[in-house]
């Protein structure tokens, strides 16, 4: 302490620190976890790098940020390359990051995973979006390189399978700069072309792909632009990229994934012998069902004939029955059958007549008896016995009720109760003795 004090200005100190830091940490690799990530509207990315006990501010300026293929997010473990710099106006220091890589996986791989998550959330891989691949498409659109292995393989399949197909190639770059744009554009153009086609000429399926290669060679098929073009395609898409083990985003978005372009071609171009079999089966089914129909018709005819016969018999039976019942009625109505009845009735009447007549006679007889009695009481003989007599003028034997007719000398017979007298009139006189 000699009393000499060196007093720094704030700027001097800050400049000193800046110099120290830049000397010591001018180009360093730093590992940490991203936190408090906040991209600015100007394209700069601000965030903190942290570990268990410390935090370091970091920034990626927009020029560098553009080259980062993946998305930064909180919690991501990264390795950054850059320099520690002091921001004098705030007296703070931060890591200016030139390059950033995800820790553990490659940047591209991470980008791929992030894109997968994003597209999956948007529903681009949704099974319900997947369309059926048409069987026997008349026209097939192919998006691949005109000089690559894919088109060669597809043509080979065509050669040994059923050739009745029209292939429309939209040639594109399948790797390198511009590949993703060309692929996406080709998919869009084939769709546009298709919209203008008449129904019968439409492309029914697209094969989008390329032959095998390194993961970097296949990268275009992991690009968002290609994924979105496939998703937007109205024509169903078969993705056919490289070899079996590489599943690209195109594979996930497409309606169907084929492991290679050959497999894609085999999906849509059927084997001749399969088709022959199909035609044969159809012809057989047709013959069988026709035979069935014919047999049915024959059976129906036989049935109808049978029913006709039965019906006729029935009608005949009915007629016969009614005929029989009529004749029976007629028989019952035969007048000959009624005659004995009448005879019987007549006999009955006769009997009744006899009975009644007898009765009548008896009645009459009894009445007659009375009359006889009466008559007996009136019998002149009885009167005679009481002293009266009857005189007959002879010879006429005429009953004389008066003296008139008798003359002197007339013979008369007098009837008495038990005999008579024949006398000659000696005198005639009137009643009371007067002479007549």
């Amino acid at each position: 302490m000699n009393g000499e004090r060196h007093i720094f200005s704030v700027t001097e100190i800050t400049q000193g620190i800046k110099l120290l830091l830049s000397r010591q940490y001018g180009s360093v690799w730093v590992e940490g976890e991203v936190s408090n990530f906040r991209p600015s509207s100007s394209g700069h990315w601000y965030f903190s790098l942290k570990d268990e006990s410390s935090v370091l501010s970091g920034v990626i300026f927009s020029r560098a940020a553009r080259d980062v293929p993946f998305k930064l997010e909180d919690g991501l473990k990264v390795v950054c390359f850059g320099s520690v710099d002091v921001y004098a106006p705030r007296g703070s220091y931060q890591l200016i990051i030139e390059r950033i890589e995800p820790k553990g996986v490659g940047a591209l791989q991470l980008a791929l995973e992030q894109l997968k998550v994003k597209l999956e959330k948007e529903g681009l891989f949704a099974p319900e979006h997947k369309r059926d691949i048409p069987y026997l498409p008349g026209r097939i659109g192919v998006v691949t390189s005109a000089t690559g292995a894919a088109i060669k393989d597809i043509l080979k399949v065509l050669e040994r399978r059923f050739k009745d197909v029209h292939i429309i190639l939209s040639p594109v770059k399948v790797q390198g700069d511009g590949a993703k744009e060309e692929i996406a554009n080709a998919i869009r153009e084939l769709n546009e072309y298709n919209d203008a086609c008449s129904r019968g000429d439409r492309i029914e399926v697209l094969i989008v792909g390329r032959g095998g290669g390194s993961i970097e060679d296949l990268w275009a098929f992991n690009e968002e632009a290609v994924a979105r073009a496939i998703y937007a395609s109205k024509i169903p898409v078969i993705s056919a990229v490289g070899h079996e083990r590489d599943v690209t985003i195109s594979d996930l978005v497409a309606d169907r994934r084929a492991a290679t372009p050959s497999v894609a071609a085999e999906i849509v171009i059927p084997r001749k012998e399969d088709l022959r079999g199909q035609v044969r089966d159809l012809a057989m089914r047709m013959a069988n069902s026709f035979e069935g129909l014919y047999a049915d018709a024959a059976q129906r005819r036989a049935d109808a004939l049978g029913r006709l016969k039965t019906g006729m018999e029935h009608i005949w039976q009915l007629n016969r029955q009614s005929c029989e019942s009529m004749s029976q009625k007629l028989l019952r109505a035969n007048p000959a059958l009624v005659i004995p009845e009448y005879i019987e009735k007549m006999r009955e009447y006769a009997r009744q007549i006899a009975v009644r007549a007898e009765h009548c006679i008896a009645l009459k007889e009894s009445r007659f008896g009375g009359v006889v009695e009466k008559m007996a009481s009136l019998n002149p003989l009885n009167i005679l016995s009481r002293g009266y007599s009857v005189t007959y003028l002879l010879p006429q034997e005429k009953i004389m009720k008066s003296a008139v007719g008798a003359k002197q000398g007339s013979s008369i017979r007098t009837r008495l109760s038990n005999g008579g007298l024949i006398s000659t009139v000696t005198e005639v006189y009137g009643d009371g003795g007067d002479q007549v």
Partner: protein, 77 residues
């Protein structure tokens, strides 16, 4: 009939088979269908054996309209 596309012929044939299998056709109709079906299956077979491949490249002309140009296969293989 010779120029019918295989898949169209096959579809028609399938339709005929289905109609026949449903069995509600009159015998006359069935006979007609059957004859048509026989012709179609012959056409299918002929087409199977005689099919020719056709490969075009989609391109845009100067006017910006789409055009199909035959693919030069020698360049491919």
């Amino acid at each position: 009939m010779a120029e019918i596309r295989f898949e169209d012929a096959l579809k028609k044939l399938e339709k005929i088979v289905e109609e026949l299998e449903q069995g509600d056709l009159s015998l006359d109709e069935a006979l007609k269908k059957y004859q048509e079906g026989i012709e179609l299956s012959r056409a299918c077979t002929a087409r199977l054996e005689n099919a020719k491949k056709k490969i075009d490249v989609l391109a845009k002309n100067k006017k910006g309209d789409f055009e199909l140009k035959p693919l030069d296969e020698d360049n491919v293989s």
